[in-house]
Amino acid sequence: MKTNLYNYILELADNCLIGGQRLGELCGHGPSLETDIACTNISLDLFGQTRSYFQYAADIKGGDATEDSIAFLRYEREYKNVLLVEQPNRDFAYTIARQYLFDVFHLLLLEKLQFSQDMTLSAIAKKSIKEVSYHVRFSGDWVKRLGDGTEESHEKMQAAIDGLWTYTNELFEVTEEAKALAEQGIGVDVSKLKETYYQNVTSLLQEATLTVPESKYFQKGGKAGIHTEHMGYLLADMQYMQRAYPNMNW
């Protein structure tokens, strides 16, 4: 089995899966009908992308592996998503800030991944770029609207950005697998995206009249499977059906 490639696919896909799961929690609970539908549509796009990645990962793993077993039957330490995407919704500003901070990265990543030497990864990236361009527009618009809105919305958006900032640096951490694959032209060296990322984010936050946090203290661990305390609850919710009724199907 191509272990490096398999682990790298999980690294890419788990961000979509866990971020999508968080957005999906808003189904029926969004602050307005339109934002509810938007968040769940974005969630659906992310799950669609996850499926493409996991179908590929299941082929590589072989045996009994399926997209579902990879999604639902791993333990917490086996998920490789960044800490940012697993952070809870708290309020709408948090949801939007988390999404925006991820979307900007996601788009930069896919713009590189589309040139991967691996045909399947390249195909998934090309397909996903079109969707993620809409995501970043949506979340970016809302960061501006809330940041440059009322006194209260500004305060909440600033609190969300301040609270989530500590998770942004991990996006650019290069794992062993990713490094090896980047050298072969298959993976993306995410450390090279960092500068553009912070430039893009800074310029939008300023437009939104928000203060760009200056803290240099950053959290990491997700890519190595060491998650925040929120992850267990998320997985318990997400995996419940497969754990309670093993092998159930739609």
Binding site: I37, A38, N41, F47, E131, Y134, R137, D141
Partner: protein
Amino acid sequence: MIATNQHIDEVLIPILEKVSDPEIPVLSIMDMGVVRSARLINGIVEVSITPTYSGCPAMDVIGDDISKALKEHNYESKVKLVLVPAWTTDWITERGRNALREYGIAPPLNPDADKDALLGDKRIVKCTNCNSTNTKLVSQFGSTACKALFKCEDCLEPFDYFKCLK
């Protein structure tokens, strides 16, 4: 997995034209442009379809509906999903665009106009009810992943706009 040219055996066209998008029943999957190839090979029809959006839940149903329609004409079939080249709204045919409009969904504009409509405040999307362009974006995301929600400020009709994907 690369299928650049759309190739569909002529005898299969009338059968596939009868299969519609489950979310938009007036629109044939052929006019939608999701069928990328359909060939009769050694007695089995091999069909390739491509999703409009990655998470489009209609794809499984479309695959089943294609197999069912072909079965009615005594063809065994294999349907597979291809991601390359990625679907674009350019593949929706003229007939498809008209069907959308009649159904109450404004068809996609060209990419620049689409950007103006969704990001700027330009009022250019035509209301499907009264044809006025005095329309306003309500939400970039609508009832399905492929649509945005608009409202006409003249006749007050809310309607979907099929987002341009290129």
